[in-house]
Symmetry: C2
Subunit: 249 residues, 2 copies
DNA sequence: AAGTGGTCTAGACCACTCT
DNA sequence: GAGTGGTCTAGACCACTTT
């Protein structure tokens, strides 16, 4: 019954992995040091190289060591780190609602970042953008769920013509049209008092609380190409996520 | 130079993995079907079993198949899913600020969930809790960064005595004292108007916008044992996270 | 009993890194 | 050139699931 029993009955490579992990956590092999070579470990424990490599693979998967050809096996952590993770499988899933909503009333502007805008977006002045300001509404087009303003690098200004038909996030539209792959998203959530102009469009009293979400999307080069700000009326929206424990192995 | 070239020069197991992945995406092996057995694949491609298994391991890691002893290799996806993930390595990291802040002015209450509270927390009426209401302040004890109310399953009421000394999240205190391991966290973020009582404690005008974060912590049995609500004054707080692309393999 | 994947051995050659 | 990890073979036994 008990799977705790890692000593007997367990495969040799697991026992070996456990033994090495224990040595590491005892400080026998400090972080940064090299483990003995595979041949050494084979002789030391009288196991075949397959078994030793399987054990080392296990240690690699739990994040205790890295392995490099020509160098050796380096200890990079003394304890398996317990990780929690939130995982999504598409960009649209980030905006949980995006697939069921559309953008309406777009206003397009061509802007060049001055000092102020550059500082706000975290870029350098002089960068050219297509600025899209719009409302996001549900299928029934009743009350809008968000006001949104997007600064999109001018190279991708071509999304403009496809925007009306597209339901979902703009990032995924860019991916589709330009074969650009998003590799990192940074998201900041804060609370704000909705200013008068936005309040009117969202049909809420000015100054009422709103959830502000700022997202930047970066491509394969790591450079952000899209900066999106959404303001959601307080009671009409919340952002949920679940973080699950990721077992080491 | 080009690493795109997966055909020649690449190890056989990678070529094989690619070939099988192609077959799967072409629909030759639909989702839910079984791949040929390892021996079959060996004969079919004239590779050793090691090479075949290494290829299948690769497919498993990319999430295309699962393998079970006695059953076979089952196709579970036709395309490698592109995942984005947010990963943290400790509970305290979730509350990015928690390690530099402390709770003050605790008020403890023993409460039993009535219909209303049970509905709010998503539990069943009759469950017993220790309710902790407190303010979270920075090191200099100037303006508080949050008002917080926690409902903690009564079994863990013993944290009460250790709370004053503890900086960081309450969840990690429970983990330490009771050897309980948190395995899942659910977090919901919304904007709210700060009510009068809380506003006074936070030293902001009543009705001003606040960021409300609700978190539930579940243990190894998957049952939530802690329900925490924090309200942060709008301008004094934001929640950031980065989602990175997790390459398949 | 037959078939599957899981573990394991002994031995080989290769690509890489360092000196 | 010596040592490292990466790839690969041929063969074996075992644990598990289904028939």
């Amino acid at each position: 019954m008990d799977k705790i029993n890692l000593g007997l009955g367990a495969p040799r490579y697991q026992q070996l992995a456990q033994a090495i992990a224990d040595s590491i956590s005892r400080g026998e092999y400090p972080v940064g040091s090299l483990l003995p070579g595979e041949e050494d470990l084979c002789r030391q424990f009288n196991f075949s190289r397959f078994t030793v490599r399987e054990a080392l693979r296990h240690l690699q998967e739990t994040g205790l060591v890295t392995r490099r050809q020509g160098i050796g096996t380096t200890v990079i952590a003394s304890t398996p780190t317990r990780k929690f993770g939130h995982m999504i499988e598409s960009i649209d899933q980030l905006q949980q609602y995006a697939s069921e909503t559309r953008l309406i009333d777009h206003v397009f502007e061509d802007v060049v970042a001055d000092e102020e805008l550059a500082a706000e977006l975290g870029t350098t002045p002089g960068m050219k953008f297509l600025r899209i300001t719009a409302l996001r509404v549900g299928a029934d087009e009743s009350k809008p769920v968000a006001w949104t303003r997007i600064h999109l690098a001018a190279i991708y200004a071509g999304v403009r013509s496809s925007l009306a038909d597209h339901s979902g996030a703009i990032g995924s539209l860019v991916e589709k049209l330009y074969d650009q792959k998003i590799t990192a998203i940074r998201q900041t959530v804060s609370a704000t008092a909705i200013d008068e102009a936005v309040a009117e469009m969202l049909d809420v009293p000015p100054g009422s609380p709103g959830l502000r979400i700022d997202r930047t999307y970066a491509g394969h080069d790591g450079i952000p190409f899209e900066f999106a700000t959404s303001i959601h009326p307080g009671p009409r929206f919340s952002l949920s996520m679940q973080l699950d424990w990721m077992s080491p192995g």
